[in-house]
């Protein structure tokens, strides 16, 4: 692969990682709130409060998933084809959960009937929990490597994905998102739901520390993720982002600075994702047990022209997207009041 092509592919690999990280940060908190719903909400008012804390944002957040998928498709088409067909059933389950969750926001509030609402509450909960688990399982399996053979055909099925390391990823993601969502409740909810959110975040923190340490240790055994880090020890500096985020989270929680604590949680989630992505490089989907069959940025990247045009598009539009999303977050950052209860 010639050098400009290689540089372009590397840039896109990093952007690919950043997109997934941003997606986990943003959708992470609304998935977390949805997962907490049956545990924290005692009555209809509580539920509505929880729905409305994420109401204005969840849709815009989910587009980061579409973009992360779209960028995989555009920049690394072969990896997209293998990843999506190889993880067929898991992705279908993810898709169905996201569908049910998405409509639950809009449909639930439109009919005043307990039965109707119960159906959509169940969809909201499962549609939040399942994606958290499935994304964790999927990424842990990618970190570990999928059984690619020389034809590239990936024969992984759902049950092979549920191996111990994959499940560890599912647990870690769910814990991260739940804590992230609980912190969001501390920011936007009012009354008892806010208190319960604070309570969950405080109790989840030590668990998160333990899970993170265990996951890192498990990764050292079960994956090649640390290879790049040992080759180039400077990279270990990346670990400061998730670790620093985790520590600061506790500090700000103690000081009751909830926006800062949530921001630290963003750094923790984003940093964790980046740690994994950097460990993968230059593979996108490593092959295990035959590393020779891995899908790498070299063998799966798009043409230099496509990568260049896409880079131009990204440089123009992504900053604009970030600006108006920040504006939207600022417009609806206030704690939820009665007049904000639209769902």
């Amino acid at each position: 692969m010639e050098s400009t092509h290689m540089i372009l592919a590397t840039v896109w690999f990093l952007l690919w990682g950043v997109l997934w990280a941003v997606y986990f940060i943003l959708d992470g908190f609304d998935l977390g709130v949805g997962t907490l719903m049956p545990f924290l909400a005692k009555n209809e008012a509580d539920k509505r409060m929880m729905y409305n804390t994420t109401g204005p944002f969840w849709d815009g957040n989910e587009v980061w998933l579409i973009s992360a998928g779209g960028v995989t498709f555009a920049a690394f088409p072969l990896a997209y084809a293998q990843m999506f067909s190889g993880l067929y059933t898991a992705l279908m389950l993810l898709l169905f959960s996201l569908i049910l969750r998405g409509v639950s926001f809009e449909l639930r509030s439109k009919v005043d009937s307990d039965g109707w609402k119960k159906i959509w509450d169940a969809c909201q909960f499962l549609g939040s929990l399942l994606p958290s688990v499935l994304l964790g399982v999927a990424f842990a399996n990618i970190f570990q490597g999928l059984p690619l053979d020389e034809t590239g055909l990936n024969q992984a099925n759902l049950f092979q994905l549920l191996n111990p390391y994959g499940l560890a990823g599912g647990v870690l993601f769910t814990a991260m998102f739940v804590t992230h969502g609980a912190l969001w409740l501390a920011i936007r909810a009012t009354g008892e739901i806010r208190e319960r959110g604070i309570n969950v975040a405080t109790r989840m923190w030590p668990a998160l520390v333990v899970l993170t340490v265990l996951f890192l240790a498990y990764s050292a055994v079960a994956t090649q993720l640390f290879g790049n880090y040992f080759k180039n020890p400077l990279l270990f500096a990346v670990l400061f982002i998730p670790v620093g985020g985790l520590v600061l989270m506790r500090v700000y929680m103690g000081a009751a600075k909830w926006w800062f604590a949530w921001g630290a949680s963003c750094a923790y989630i984003g940093g964790t994702a980046l740690f994994g992505v950097i460990g993968l490089f230059p593979a996108i989907i490593p092959s295990n047990p035959n590393p020779g069959n891995s899908l790498t940025i070299m063998n799966s990247a798009s043409s230099p022209l496509t990568l260049k045009i896409m880079l131009g598009v990204a440089l123009v539009f992504v900053p604009i997207v970030i600006l108006y999303q920040i504006w939207a977050y600022k417009t609806f950052a206030h704690p939820v009041k009665d007049e904000d209860m639209l769902y």
């Binding site: 579409i66 973009s67 067909s85 279908m92 169905f96 449909l107 043409s303 045009i309 598009v313 539009f317």
Partner: protein
């Protein structure tokens, strides 16, 4: 059934279902933005209430459109991995651009719009409405440019065993895609216009909120007449394009078998997959005239197209006739509604008919997509890649499982969503949300 056939069924079902909700989004978003603009300009409360009432229907519809759209992006990878790997360089980048440039805008501002009634000034809220409307239609631009590549591939070279981008401008300015885009957008406007007309007529017949629904009716009637006449005119040019670039599709649309100059159109025709079962009452030269604007032009027949490159004839033929027939009825209804828009309450029989006309443009759009997509078969990318080469190497069982779950899920969602929209529509404007 094998994974290929199941995947085709699954994709057809997923697209058709997605396409129940998308067209309304295209047109209704624009109508709502117009209502908000009228509110900002005149300060009349009725326009704000109109935007809120139609907006409520919009939101339910939008939710179903968005979630079913994700399915399509997923399916290219899950079910059509061969396709994704072969044309991802071009097709994938168009989808990624759509997400970055349009879908983000739409999804962020739909939240702002929905939750912003008490938080934004009327002017800022109006801008949010226009962002949603502009972004919905911009989404369609990119998606249809992507589909246009499948219909009329341009701007690529075959290299490294796949189609790689060679000329981005050629891809983006693909004339076939832009004709398709115009046709789709106008179709979306027809759907929205008849939706507003039908619901307004229902209320006008019952004399509820005469001012509110009278204004809505006039807005709907104007859009209906403009969009339904334009789409027929533009459809003719689009047909010329198809005749020129996709002769096999044209031949299937008309079940035209013998290559001939001055090809006739038959008033009575029963199509079959290997020749017409009946051809009677020919109008000489009409097919040549419609296809090439020249009654003497030569039209290629299916007999001169190798059998393995012929699209399914009966579906394509019937879908095309369904689309055109319904389009004609729509023009008549829209014309009458527009001519009598100021005293429509004097025509209760017409008000009674209109709610039943709501499904017409929906059906026309489904038929239209069937013509476009079934008529392109057996190619997934016209002349470049066959659908059978595009399918993932997944097992039939996996696809069958997801097809069954998806169909069940979509059926339930469809019933719930449509039931809810009917309920909201009948309830009429109520304060609050």
């Amino acid at each position: 059934m094998d994974a290929l056939m199941l995947s085709r069924l699954q994709f057809a079902a997923a697209t058709a279902f997605h396409f129940i909700f998308v067209p309304l989004t295209l047109g209704l978003s624009v109508l709502i933005a117009c209502m908000e603009t009228a509110f900002v300009r005149t300060g009349k409360e009725v326009y704000r209430r109109m935007a809120q009432f139609w907006g409520k229907l919009f939101l339910v519809n939008f939710a179903l459109g968005v979630v079913t759209g994700i399915t399509l992006e997923f399916q290219f990878g899950t079910n059509w991995a061969g396709y994704s790997a072969y044309v991802g360089d071009i097709f994938g980048s168009l989808l990624a651009i759509e997400a970055t440039a349009a879908f983000f805008l739409e999804s962020t501002f739909i939240g702002v719009w929905h939750f912003g009634w008490n938080r934004l000034s009327p002017r800022a809220h109006m801008i949010a409405a226009w962002c949603v409307a502009g972004a919905s239609n911009l989404s369609a631009v990119w998606i249809i440019i992507a589909n246009g590549f499948m219909q009329n591939p341009l701007g690529y070279v075959l290299r490294n065993g796949r189609a790689e981008l060679d000329d981005f401008m050629a891809v983006v300015t693909n004339p076939f895609a832009w004709q398709q885009f115009m046709h789709t957008i106008l179709g979306g406007f027809c759907v929205a216009a008849f939706f507003v007309l039908g619901i307004s007529a229902w209320h006008l017949y019952r004399k509820s909120e005469a001012d509110f629904f009278g204004r809505s009716f006039r807005l709907g009637a104007t859009l209906a007449v403009v969009a339904s006449v334009l789409i027929a005119t533009q459809g003719h040019w689009h047909g010329n394009h198809v005749a020129e670039l996709q002769p096999a599709k044209l031949a299937a649309m008309e079940s035209h078998w013998e290559t001939q100059k001055g090809a006739p159109m038959y008033l009575l025709q029963i199509p079959g997959e290997d020749g017409n079962k009946l051809e009677a009452l020919p109008i000489p030269g009409l097919l040549s005239l419609l296809a090439f604007n020249d009654p003497g032009a030569e039209v290629v027949g299916l007999n001169d197209i190798p059998e393995d490159q012929r699209p399914p004839v009966v579906i394509t033929f019937l879908s095309f006739r369904g689309m055109v027939g319904i389009g004609t009825v729509m023009i008549l209804l829209a014309g009458f509604a527009w001519l009598r828009r100021n005293n429509i309450e004097n025509y209760p029989w017409f008000l009674k008919i209109l709610p039943f006309a709501i499904p017409l443009p929906y059906l026309a759009m489904q038929f239209g997509w069937a013509v476009a997509e079934v008529g392109r078969q057996p190619w997934i990318v016209y002349g470049l890649m066959k659908t059978s080469q595009a399918v993932s190497r997944v097992t039939a069982g996996q696809v069958a499982f997801s097809l069954i779950v998806m169909s069940a899920l979509y059926t339930l969602l469809g019933i719930a969503g449509i039931w809810l929209m009917v309920r909201i529509a009948k309830q009429g404007p109520v304060e609050g949300h």
